[in-house]
Amino acid sequence: MKVIEVNKVEKIYNPEKVPVHALRGLDLTVNEGEFTAIVGPSGCGKSTLLNIIGGIDNPSSGHVQVGGTDISSLNSNELIDFRKDNIGFIFQAYNLIPVLTAMENVEFVMLLQNQPKNQRKARAEELLVAVGLGDKMDKRPSQLSGGQQQRVAVARALASKPKFILADEPTANLDSASTTTLLDIMKEMNEKEGITFVFSTHDNRVIEKAKRVVYIEDGVVVDDQKK
């Protein structure tokens, strides 16, 4: 079943001054349960593609369907609600709200979804235990290592029960051990619970773990390998 469908998406920055073509009619389909890495050189359009798939940026032309909804037709408020209920995000850095504890960070999206307190607490605890941070629930991001912070981000991304998780270079700032732990957790979530992951990366360790690797160059898909 198709979770993401990208059709002839173009993204041009500064179209009136110095146009920069980030994506040039890109097509991509991601199916449910995939563990997809999007790779390519810097400036090839990986992050732009992820932003457009995630509904935090608009394409200049073309269409993006997520779970059957054409998100390129949604206005900004509709997009915010759509993101909240359908997409989990893991960013490279500054993933967490620094003034909230790990537990509160995970609860945050569920709060925005108006989930009842008991349900929120139970799910946040369950997810933090699942990412190996059962003993760090009351710690603030500044009291956690980079790897632990990314694991909290994974838990937070999963909290809203999204259709898929988008991760923009999630291991870029992590050491080897943290990268391995994070990848193992994501892989386990993917294999056991069938959660769809799409991430951009330069990291060979991530590429090795991916079930599918999509290569982008100059704003178009140049290769698509399924393992």
């Binding site: 992050s47 935090i56 940026d57 960013f91 909230l100 509160e104």
Partner: protein
């Protein structure tokens, strides 16, 4: 609730910056309340002294008297007026007022001759209270005169010196009495003191046609605030009982005093506005810096589903957190300050001469009513909301894709 938690904790992420803006707000509140207390004390002193020494709370005259100040406009229903005031249990003093001339050794001075009945004057604030030398309207068999020290200095007079007082009788004919200065007073109101001379009402009346003449009744209401509406109600009550006379409260008798009270209120609004405008920029700057520093963080929150209204609300709550700290702190400090100055007064003896010109006590007893504290707290809160709007819009308009771009 989560927004309040985030806002409150964000406030303390940069304690120095938040501390400085909170301090500025506390200072602003203290200054606003100080100014309010000072002006209220200053005006209170001025108005209270004017009421006590000159006007009383209420004055009763012939309807034409205040306009023309002519002796012919006497209170012809004096007994009825006295009975009304006795029944209302109000302290009063009937007077004879004559606009005239004081002459001594070739020097003349236009003056207001106030004929008082010392027995009645005790009921209100008696001029006797301000005696500094000699005796109060006694000590000589013929026409004792009670004169202010400033007028005595101006005319080169001393105790036991003679003075001629000229005025008009009920028909407009010029008459005069020769008096002897038996007492010198100082009411600490230079402008009024220079123009007023007290004599016994019977001495002033003896050359008039009506020996029981009276053209002014001063009423002083005990234990009442000068701004109380009760004064107007009592005025209306007496007026309805004495329709042939004019019964006027101090606000009508001395409209310049009332206008001054209004002017002081306007001044306070101006001072408050200036302080609040300065605070708006301080708060706005702090919040804007805070928003721009957290661009990535806010972008991330927008990306994961915090909607624009809640993003805006978050910044406004952060601003309200500032007033939640600064407001009570400023109010408590101000209250302590006002309590101190209400007890001990603010000593302005160094400029007492200038204050005396206006009849203002050199020790200003400050007073701030509870509504002022509330008004200032609400103003500060509204200022915070106002100052938060631009940073809040800025935060709301952040585009997540741009905000989180590394």
């Amino acid at each position: 609730m989560i927004l309040l938690k985030i806002a409150w904790r964000n406030l303390w992420r940069n304690p120095l910056r938040s501390g400085i803006v909170i301090l500025a707000m506390v200072f602003g509140i203290v200054v606003m309340i100080f100014v309010s207390g000072f002006y209220t004390g200053l005006m209170g002193s001025y108005v209270k002294n004017s009421i006590k020494k000159q006007y009383g709370h209420i004055q009763i005259h012939h309807p034409a008297f205040r306009e023309y100040l002519e002796t012919k406009n006497e209170i012809k229903t004096l007994e009825k007026a006295k009975k009304t005031l006795d029944e209302a249990n109000l302290p009063y003093a009937p007077r004879t007022i004559a606009m005239g001339l004081a002459s001594v050794a070739g020097k003349n001075q236009a003056i207001k001759i106030i004929g008082v009945d010392t027995a009645f004057e005790k009921n209100i604030s008696s001029p006797q209270d301000y005696l500094i030398e000699g005796k109060y309207l006694s000590g000589t068999k013929r026409n004792p005169v009670y004169i202010s020290s400033s007028l005595a200095n101006k005319l080169g007079l001393k105790l036991r010196k003679k003075i001629k007082l000229s005025y008009a009788d009920e028909t407009g004919t010029n008459i005069s009495i020769a008096g002897k200065i038996t007492g010198i007073y100082d009411m600490k109101n230079k402008l009024a003191d220079l123009n007023s001379i007290y004599v016994n009402q019977s001495d002033l009346n003896k050359n008039l046609i009506n020996k029981n003449y009276c053209n002014e009744i001063i009423v002083r209401i005990p234990d009442i605030d000068y701004s109380s509406n009760e004064i107007d109600l009592i005025t209306q009550d007496i007026q309805s009982s004495l329709p042939a006379l004019e019964v006027a409260s101090w606000k009508e008798v001395a409209p310049e005093l009332n206008a001054l009270v209004g002017q002081v209120k306007t001044n306070q609004i101006v001072v408050r506005t200036i302080i609040l405008i300065a605070l708006v920029f301080g708060i706005l700057n702090t919040l804007l810096m805070s928003v721009l520093e957290r661009k990535y963080e806010i972008g991330m929150m927008l990306a994961i589903g915090l909607n624009k209204a809640k993003t805006m609300l978050l910044i406004i709550i952060e601003s309200l957190c500032l007033s939640a700290v600064a407001g009570p702190l400023g109010i408590i400090l101000s209250n302590l300050m006002i309590m101190y100055f209400a007890q001990n007064g603010l000593d302005l003896s160094v400029i007492s001469k200038s204050l005396e010109t206006w009849g203002i006590d050199p020790i200003i007893i400050m007073k701030v009513n509870p509504q002022t504290y509330w008004a200032i707290f609400i103003l500060i809160t509204l200022t915070n909301i106002g100052a938060a709007i631009y940073p809040a819009i800025k935060a709301m308009r952040l585009r997540p894709a741009e905000a989180i771009r590394k």
